[in-house]
Amino acid sequence: MAKVDRSGTPLVELRNISIAFGGVHAVDDVSVDLYPGEVVGLLGHNGAGKSTLIKCLSGAYQADSGEVFVDGKKVSIRNPRDARDHNIETIYQTLALADNLDAASNLFLGREITSGIGLVDDARMEAETRKIMGRLNPNFRKFNAPVSALSGGQRQSVAISRAVYFNARILIMDEPTAALGVEETRMVAELIDELKRQGLGIFLIDHDIHQVKTLCDRASVMKNGKLVGTVDVDDVTEDDLLGMIILGKQPEKAA
């Protein structure tokens, strides 16, 4: 894998992000960054605060403190619309699909294609959906069914195509392959590589350490809301990463 050039300004930088729910410090003073063409893995046990951290970037949550920089400029992301305006697209762990609507309506939710007189153009949206699904999941057929009638993997591919369709520059993927079969997982891996070559920056949350080692350039490990450390995946072994996740300590070499 070609080395990522990290001499310029990062695409995104999260600085000293903290957020608490009641008394729980879900994310506590965490800083991570991401360069163009880079995939950064976010690791940590269940409840470590990974999803909460990225939700501060996607606009779902507002951090209690901390700053977000896009292209070196400080930005304020108050809601999901702000994030989308900065070309930040997110695949949520829960997928965030409206179960009663079909694939096309979900893909374009909040960004419907409208005709001249302002009515939604369902036929065109379905045609676009067929196009992108043809690329990402050629086996997908259920274009006219509500997504509640889809399998877990099919639902996931709807969520993925939604994030990819709108020309994201920054992509957040929260366990995108959790429900996918072997074949589909491989396709997502290929997709990630392709997007990376196009210069996107990707935050990838994944519990599969082996996958993180092959897909990611760097990995940031969290434990109990705190950042354990960020390492170059080529500098560490899978056991080193496991040690960071479970024991919360930096590997000898990287420390």
Partner: protein, 431 residues
């Protein structure tokens, strides 16, 4: 071997001939239920149920509840409820009654019977309805008070605000132009009814045609031509059949004579004239079309259904779900005002008890029409059919001579049964 294959193929063809029409099975079920109710009562009343006169009365009785039921669909789809619609109708009716009997003639000094009276009264009523609805929506969306509580409070408040506005008195008679929206006092007459019917048929055909063209342009599967033709034929005969029934209801001779007298003419011997389509029914049709377009073809409608299906997903997609709640209740308020026009014009005066128990009829109509209380699903046509089914049951029973308390028992049981059938249907079709 080939034999069984052929029979199987033929069986499939038979089934798909029906499927090719692509008529919503739920719609079909409801139309079936409606027709069954009509036929049963027609037999029980020895043909008195399906007379032009009764069909005419049935339609004008249904309008007010049906108009509000279309708005209740949006409310329930977004996982809310509105218990205040009957009371809101009363307040809007009171506001409009006071506007046309006091504000316009006395305060504005335009006197009684001024042509601007009705438009001003209706506009004021609509603004009042929208403002109250938006206020409910704000309490629910922004202050996060449950809709059940807000509108339960609203039921008590608005019913009695109406009483306060009129000092508890019956206000009437209402303006002549205003009364045109009440049903029997305002109909299109035979010629215009037929023109309306033909325009409606052409519009429906045009709709079918453009939908097909759009599908072909995007290379989607389309129905076979014969299926389109059958569908077009069915729609046309339904519309024209309805129009011919309404025009067959004849204006009583004595009333006709008075009309001629008022125009300074003498009625020719043996002259007859039908009522035709009531203006209130026209209002319902326009409301139904607009609400259907909003539901299916606008962003607002898409967001209403998305929010009902998964509020979190809608919010994550950047939809302002709080503002959406305000809009939904504002639409409900506007529709209550329109229903208030129809309801008060129909009785030709405003009374304190106008719209009493309408909240229950409206919710029942939406629910019988397939709107799921869990949110996320419901149709405008379903709600209107639901209102029609309930009204048919009620007036059918009244004609048969069932006492009002027993009527309510039956309607209550039908409501529960309808929802149970809907649950079974959803379980079978998996949606």
């Amino acid at each position: 071997m080939t034999d069984t294959k052929e029979t199987a193929a033929r069986a499939r063809k038979k089934q798909s001939a029906f499927a090719a029409l692509e008529i919503d099975t739920r719609l079909l079920g409801m139309i079936g239920a409606f027709i069954a109710v009509c036929l049963v009562f027609n037999i029980l009343t020895e043909g008195r149920f399906l007379t032009p006169r009764n069909v005419f009365n049935l339609t004008i009785q249904t309008v007010s509840v049906a108009i509000m039921a279309t708005g209740m669909v949006f409310v329930i789809v977004t996982r809310h409820i509105d218990l205040s619609v009957g009371a809101l109708l009363a307040t809007c009716s009171a506001v409009m009654a006071m506007t046309q009997t006091m504000v316009v003639p006395e305060w504005l000094g335009l006197g009684l019977g001024h042509p601007l009276t009705a438009p001003i009264a209706i506009a004021v009523g609509c603004v009042a309805g929208m403002a109250i609805g938006a206020f409910h929506g704000w309490l629910i969306g922004y202050l996060t008070i449950p809709a059940f509580i807000v509108t339960l409070g609203g039921l008590l408040v608005w019913r009695n605000v109406a009483w306060h506005l009129t000092s508890g008195q019956t206000i009437g008679p209402l303006d002549e132009t205003f009364q045109l929206f009440g049903g029997i006092n305002g109909t299109l007459g035979e010629t215009w009814s037929w023109i309306f019917g033909i325009v409606a048929v052409l519009a429906a055909w045009f709709g079918l045609f453009t939908a097909r063209r759009s599908k072909i342009r995007h290379e989607f599967k389309v129905k076979p031509i014969w299926a389109e033709l059958v569908l077009g034929g069915l729609i046309a005969s339904a519309i024209l059949g309805f129009v011919s029934l309404l025009t067959a209801y004849e204006i009583p001779t004595r009333r006709l004579e008075r009309i001629f007298e008022a125009a300074g003419q003498v009625m020719p011997e043996g002259h007859t004239q039908g009522y035709g389509v009531p203006i209130s029914v026209l209002v319902l049709i326009v409301v139904a079309i607009i609400m259907t377009i909003v539901a299916q073809r606008t962003r607002l409608g898409r967001y209403i259904f998305a929010t009902g299906g998964n509020p979190d997903a809608a919010a994550l997609a950047g939809i302002n779900t709080r503002m959406l709640t305000v809009k939904v209740f504002m639409i409900m308020g506007l529709l209550c005002a329109i229903s208030a026009v129809v309801a008060s014009a129909r009785q030709t005066f405003h009374s304190n008890d106008i719209g009493t128990l309408d909240e229950l009829r409206v919710i029942a109509a939406a629910v019988i029409g397939g709107t799921a209380l869990a949110g996320g699903s419901g149709t405008i046509y379903g709600a209107i059919l639901g209102a029609l089914i309930m009204q048919s049951l009620q007036s059918g029973m009244a004609m048969v001579g069932v006492d009002a308390p027993y009527q309510n028992i039956v309607v209550g049981m039908v409501l529960v049964l309808a929802v149970f059938v809907d649950i079974l249907y959803r379980r079978r079709t998996g949606d």
